[in-house]
């Protein structure tokens, strides 16, 4: 090959590589390999700073109003919001934070996500100088402590906006009063109510809830908590095995809902938004989900989300075994954290303060999505238009404040093993004892937890 030819090929290759490299310069290196705090951007007067805010909760309709109010009070700061679905967010946020997205404020699912993103997020101690002095006194101690303890190194990585509980039962109050059904407090009353609904309205499913694997744990421990309030905590802390008699009993009790005909196994094929969609479309009388759905109690919130139900109430999930008490698990939720890659920590901290202990609490608090951590908050009674709504909100608040266990779970184990094992029991493909044994053996195998 002639040397000039060779030179030309080499030159082309080098140019190509350089161009690729040049194109690459437009990309990010992400947090892969460990991350450092990003340098702070300088703020020029008159230039608004835009904060990128990713979260899964509260819903967009709630956040839009709060953000608008914030931007009015702080004209120099603009918020660019992006909302994800809960389970999807658990996957997307770690990928994004490690993958170079420059986010300024991120919502954190306190129990489910703190440890998967804490390496990419600044501990609160690093930016608390931007918060008012004595800010801890403005917040209820319980949720903050929970948020601290959930991290592997015991540091506080996010400030929780409030607390949530699950599972709770929402009901179509207008449908119930139309059919003359009282709010059921026990499984037998629920069975009777279900039968009445089926007889009067054949195309309505009496009770719906999600059939996704992760939701089964919530149902199971809610029912278990009715006789053993601390069972969930005990099992996750290793004080009791997964195949202890209480667990086996709880599995049997959950299954009994299906055996009694309260719900059919077709409910278990409802995924994603489908249960909520059926409920809001008037095709279900009872909807079991977490207290984050309590925004449906507010007429204003329903109208904003284009939900056409006239009256919605809420109550604890009916007691399945005689002698039990209504229960739910609760936890701090809606943590707000500032990633290491953020270049606007001061402004981000201002926003976090607004949302957790400032005026923002009153704005989003109206939508009843969380019981706020801020001590200064008191519920605005004008939001709860009907008796059913007022009773419902009171019931939910009581459940959250008196919860015996925390909503803390191991996501990998939950999604791959736990949820599926419970579903097997419900579909009659496994016995409670066998499923409980399987849970115990997988939990101790080391695949999902460090041995």
């Amino acid at each position: 090959m002639h040397s000039s030819r060779l030179l030309r090929v080499l030159a082309t290759t080098v140019t190509a590589v350089v161009t690729l490299g040049g194109l690459a310069a437009c990309g990010d290196s992400g947090g892969v390999g460990g991350d450092k705090n990003a340098d702070q951007a300088t703020v020029t007067d008159g230039q608004p700073v835009t904060l990128k805010y990713w979260t899964w909760f509260p819903p967009e309709v709630t956040l839009r109003d709060t953000i608008a109010a914030f931007e009015r009070d702080h004209p120099a700061i603009k918020i660019d919001l992006r909302i994800f679905e809960a389970a999807d967010y658990q996957k997307q946020l770690p990928l994004a934070l490690n993958g170079g997205e420059e986010l300024d404020v991120v919502g954190v699912q306190v129990s489910a996500m703190t440890n998967s993103i804490r390496e990419q997020v600044r501990p609160v101690s690093e930016w608390e100088s931007n918060l008012p002095a004595g800010w801890r006194d403005k917040l209820a101690a319980g949720p903050v402590r929970q948020t601290e303890k959930v991290a592997k190194d015991g540091k506080l990585y996010s400030i929780p906006m409030g607390s949530l509980g699950s599972a709770v039962m929402l009901y179509n109050a207008s449908m119930l009063s139309e059919l003359g059904i009282a709010v059921p407090k026990s499984a037998d009353e629920l069975a009777a109510a279900a039968a009445k609904v089926r007889a009067a309205k054949p195309d309505v499913t009496p009770m719906v809830f999600s059939g996704e694997p992760y939701w089964q744990e919530e149902m199971l421990f809610t029912i278990a908590g009715q006789s053993n309030p601390t069972l969930s905590d005990d099992v996750f802390a290793g004080r009791k095995p997964w195949n202890s008699p209480e667990m086996v009993a709880a599995l049997g009790q959950y299954k009994s809902l299906f055996d009694k005909g309260i719900v059919g196994t077709d409910v278990l094929s409802l995924k994603g938004n489908r249960p909520a969609e059926l409920f809001t479309g008037g095709k279900a009388a009872f909807y079991v989900d977490g207290s984050w759905q309590s925004s449906m109690l507010s007429q204003a919130s329903r109208t904003a989300s284009k939900i056409e139900l006239t009256d919605v109430g809420a109550a604890a999930f009916p007691v399945v075994v005689a002698g039990g008490k209504p229960a739910a698990r609760s936890y701090a939720e809606g943590g707000l954290a500032i990633p290491k890659k953020s270049k606007h920590v001061t402004q981000a901290a201002t926003f976090v303060e607004y949302m957790t202990m400032g005026k923002g609490v009153d704005t989003w608090g109206k939508d009843l999505v969380l019981v706020p951590t801020a001590k200064s908050y008191s519920a605005d009674s004008s939001v709860l238009a009907s008796q059913a709504a007022r009773d419902g909100y009171a019931a939910i608040t009581t459940l959250i404040n008196s919860a015996g266990s925390a909503r803390d779970s191991n996501q990998g184990f939950l999604n791959q093993v736990e949820g599926n094992a419970i579903l097997d029991v419900l579909r009659g493909q496994s016995t409670p004892q066998a499923a409980a044994d399987k849970l115990q053996s997988e939990w101790t195998s080391g695949r999902y937890t460090a041995k």
Partner: protein
């Protein structure tokens, strides 16, 4: 199918006209120069391979002996434990078995239905183009999309499949498709049938160049349609069958979207394949090392399948 001529006789003419030199050294110089040129031309390929295959495999091997998160910092060494856990996980073994099962079903469908439809279409029906497009459509739109639509159709209460069955009076056949293994597998088999468009294309192309003149004599001998299909056309396309089997087998190990978006591995992870297994493990907290170990096992299997393909190809020459 373009038939290739056998490799031509080595270059002889050109060198004969040059002044004679010590033959050995010229040949060596020639070959040395050829090697240099070849390597130069192959540099882009080798570079991409080096980064995305060789370095990647090395990285996988290194990560698979650790317990780490997606930021790859704070990695703790755990030795062979990840491999031990992967290979003893019943779910993993089942997912490998599922891969092979789905490959087998795909092959069976391709060799029967795919072959049959290709012949029917090649026999000269009107609107041939339209039918080809229809049968090929599910294979060409993003599988994430098709599988999502398909998965929605399978919902027990309001899914299109059960709703249609009820409307045509076959309500007894309506199932909890994602609730039990049997129906879920059946649903995935149906999804595999939808993807028969590509094998149809293989057959169609080969049919156009195959020597089908033997059909004329068969007709004179009084063969009926079934015999013409089974005893004449099917054996005639022997090489195509081999191609179809191999390409479907190779493609089946790359499957991911098909299961991830339709059944998501339901019920209870029983229809999961190796792709969904590794993906779910990768996005679990602190399980990146475990996912790497699973990926290494999957890779070994995939390379073995490739090697078998190459050996068969070589024998066929």
């Amino acid at each position: 199918m373009t038939s290739t001529t056998s490799r031509n006789a080595p270059v002889a003419a050109a060198s004969g006209t040059r002044p004679a030199r010590a033959g050995q050294s010229r040949r060596t110089r020639h070959r040395g120069r050829a090697l240099g040129t070849a390597l130069l031309f192959l540099t882009p390929l080798l570079l991409i391979y080096a980064v995305y295959y060789l370095y990647a495999f090395g990285f996988l091997a290194a990560t698979s002996t650790t317990r780490t998160t997606l930021s790859f910092s704070e990695a703790t060494d755990v030795g062979w434990e990840n491999f031990h856990l992967v290979l003893t996980d019943a779910v993993f073994i089942r997912s490998v078995a599922n891969n092979l099962l789905f490959a087998a079903v795909s092959i069976a469908v391709a060799l029967t239905l795919g072959f049959f439809l290709a012949v029917v279409l090649a026999s000269g029906v009107r609107l041939r183009r339209f039918f080809y497009a229809v049968f090929l459509l599910p294979s060409l739109i993003p599988l994430s999309l098709f599988a999502t639509v398909f998965g929605r159709m399978l919902e027990t209460r309001d899914g299109a499949v059960n709703a249609t069955l009820r409307t045509v009076g076959l309500g007894a056949l309506s199932q909890d498709w994602l609730g039990e293994s049997g129906p879920a597998y059946a649903a995935l088999f149906v999804l595999l049938v939808y993807l028969v468009g590509l094998p149809i294309m293989y057959y169609t192309s080969d049919l156009s160049t195959a020597n089908t003149a033997v059909l004329e004599s068969a007709l004179l001998d009084g063969a009926n349609t079934g015999q013409m299909y089974r005893l004449i056309l099917f054996p005639l396309l022997r090489n195509t069958h081999k191609t179809v089997i191999l390409s479907v087998l190779l493609g089946s190990f790359r499957a991911f979207d098909m299961v991830f978006f339709s059944t998501k591995g339901d019920p209870g992870g029983r229809t999961g394949i190796t792709g969904t297994y590794v993906y779910n493990a990768m996005l679990g907290e602190g399980r990146v090392g475990y996912a790497s170990a699973a990926a290494v096992v999957v890779l070994v299997i995939a390379l073995a399948v490739s090697a078998i393909h190459l050996v068969i190809q070589r024998k066929g020459q």
